[in-house]
Amino acid sequence: MLSDQTSYTDEELMELYIAGEVEAFAELMRRYRRRIYSFLRTMVGNDRETAEELFQETFLRLVRVKRFGSYLRSAKFSTYLYTIARNVCIDHFRRRRGVFERSLDDETVVPLPARGSLGDDPERLLLEQEQRDLVSSLVTGLPAEQREVVYLRLRSDMPFKEIARVTGTGENTAKSRYRYAIESLSRQLTAKDVPCKGDLSTADPGGQP
C-alpha cells in the first residue's frame, strides 16, 4: 500500500506497478487519463467511440508492460505514454485507411453553451467561446502530423525536444510542423473573417513602414 501517492514521480510509480503495486497504476491513470483521452479525441477528429476504444487500448498496453527498460532512463514517463497512444492511433489509422485525414469541408457542429454558464458579459464570453470552438474545429482539419504537434505543444506543454521523441522525428521537423500548423490556422481564421483578438480591422493601416 502506497502511503502518499502524490509524492512519487511518474517513473517511480511505473516501477512500483511493475513490482506489483496496483495502486501506483491507479495513480498514473488519475494523472494521465484526461490528457491521453483528449489527445486521442483530437487525433481521431472528435469521434468519441473510437477515442474511447483507443484510450482503453493505450492503457491496456501499459498494463502489459513488463519492463521499463532503457527508454525511461533518458525520457520521461509522459513521453513514453504519449508514444504508446500515438502508436495506437497509427495502428488504428492503418487499419482504417482513408480516415486518417479529415477534410476541412467537414464542418464540426459546435454545441451551444449551457444557459447561465456565460457569467456577467454573455456576449463577450459567447464570442470567445465561439472563437475557441472554431479554432478547435480547424485543428481537426489539420494533417495528423501537425495536429499531434499542436496538441502536444499547447495542451501538454511539451518542449519540442520531447515532441520529437514522441513523434519519432527530429526536433527541427517538430518545430516546422508546428510552424506550418499555426500558419495554416491563422490563414483560415483570417479567411473566415473571424474577429479574433488580433483582428486586422483594428490595426492602423498607416502603421506599415
Partner: protein, 251 residues
C-alpha cells in the same frame, strides 16, 4: 524589414526557431507596424485558445475496466514469478545438455510445428489473455475471431469482475454490429443495458443501438419484400432492393 518578412519571423518565433538578433529586429518592427502587431496577436490568441481548452474525460467504465485489467495482470505476474525462477534454473541446466547434443542432433531433427500458432488462445489460458486476444482481433477488424474469443472469455469469465465483463460484452456487441449481425448485436446490447455496472457513456451506447435497430429493421423490410410474389413488386422497388442487397454483400 517588410511585413512579409516579419510574418515569416513571427512564425519562426512561435516555433522557437528564431535567433535572438532576428527576434530583436522582429519586435522592433512590431513596435512600428500596427498591422503586423495585429497579426502577431492573432497567432498568440490561437495558441491561447488551444491551450485554454479543457481536457475531456473518458467514461468511468473505461477506467474501471483498465484498473481491473491491471489488478489481474499483477496477480498473474505474482503467480508466474516463482514458476519462472525455477524454469530459468532448469533452463540453465538443460542448456548445457542441449549444447553438447546439438551437433549430434543437427540434421536429424525436424522441428514439429506447434499445434497452435503464436498469439492464439485456448480456453485453458487465463481469461485476461482471452479478453486481450478478443480485443486485439476486434482492433484488427477480425470480427469473427473477436466474437469467438470474447464468447470464450464470457463463458469462462472472471468472477466478480463486472468491469471487464462489461468491456468484453461491449466489444462483442460492436463486433456483431460491424459484421452486420444486427439481431445478435441488439441482444448483446440488451445484456449491456441490464448489466450491473453500466458505466459506458449512455448517449453513445444509445446511438449505437439505434443504428443497429435501423439496420435490423431495414433488413426486415427487405426480407418482407422478398417474400412477396414477383408480380406484386413494383418496378420502383427493384433497384433499391438490388442496391441494398449489394451493399450488404459488401459489408
Amino acid at each position: 524589414m517588410n511585413c512579409e518578412q516579419s510574418k515569416a519571423l513571427m512564425l519562426q518565433e512561435r516555433s522557437e526557431e528564431l535567433r535572438p538578433t532576428a527576434r530583436f529586429s522582429l519586435h522592433q518592427h512590431l513596435d512600428e507596424c500596427a498591422a503586423c502587431r495585429a497579426h502577431y496577436a492573432t497567432l498568440l490568441s490561437i495558441e491561447q485558445h488551444l491551450s485554454a481548452e479543457p481536457d475531456l474525460s473518458p467514461s468511468p467504465f473505461s477506467e474501471r475496466a483498465i484498473l481491473n485489467a491491471a489488478i489481474l495482470e499483477t496477480r498473474r505476474r505474482a503467480k508466474a514469478t516463482p514458476a519462472l525462477r525455477s524454469f530459468r534454473l532448469a533452463g540453465l541446466a538443460s542448456a548445457a545438455m542441449v549444447l553438447l547434443g546439438l551437433g549430434f542432433v543437427l540434421g536429424h531433427f525436424q522441428e514439429e510445428k506447434p499445434l497452435l500458432s503464436a498469439g492464439s488462445a485456448t480456453t485453458s489460458e487465463d481469461p485476461l489473455r482471452l479478453l486481450a486476444f478478443g480485443r486485439d482481433a476486434y482492433q484488427h477488424q477480425r470480427y469473427d475471431r473477436a466474437i469467438h474469443r470474447l464468447t470464450q472469455y464470457l463463458s469462462t469469465g472472471v468472477p466478480d469482475d463486472p468491469a471487464l465483463d462489461y468491456l468484453a460484452t461491449l466489444t462483442l456487441a460492436r463486433s456483431y454490429r460491424r459484421l452486420g449481425r444486427h439481431k445478435e448485436a441488439l441482444a448483446t446490447y440488451d445484456r449491456l443495458r441490464r448489466h450491473p455496472g453500466s458505466w459506458q457513456d449512455q448517449e453513445l451506447l444509445a446511438q449505437e443501438v439505434a443504428d443497429c435497430q435501423r439496420h435490423f429493421e431495414d433488413r426486415l423490410v427487405d426480407s418482407d419484400q422478398n417474400a412477396l410474389p414477383p408480380d406484386s413488386r413494383s418496378y420502383e422497388q427493384l433497384p433499391a432492393r438490388i442496391y441494398r442487397t449489394g451493399y450488404r454483400a459488401n459489408h
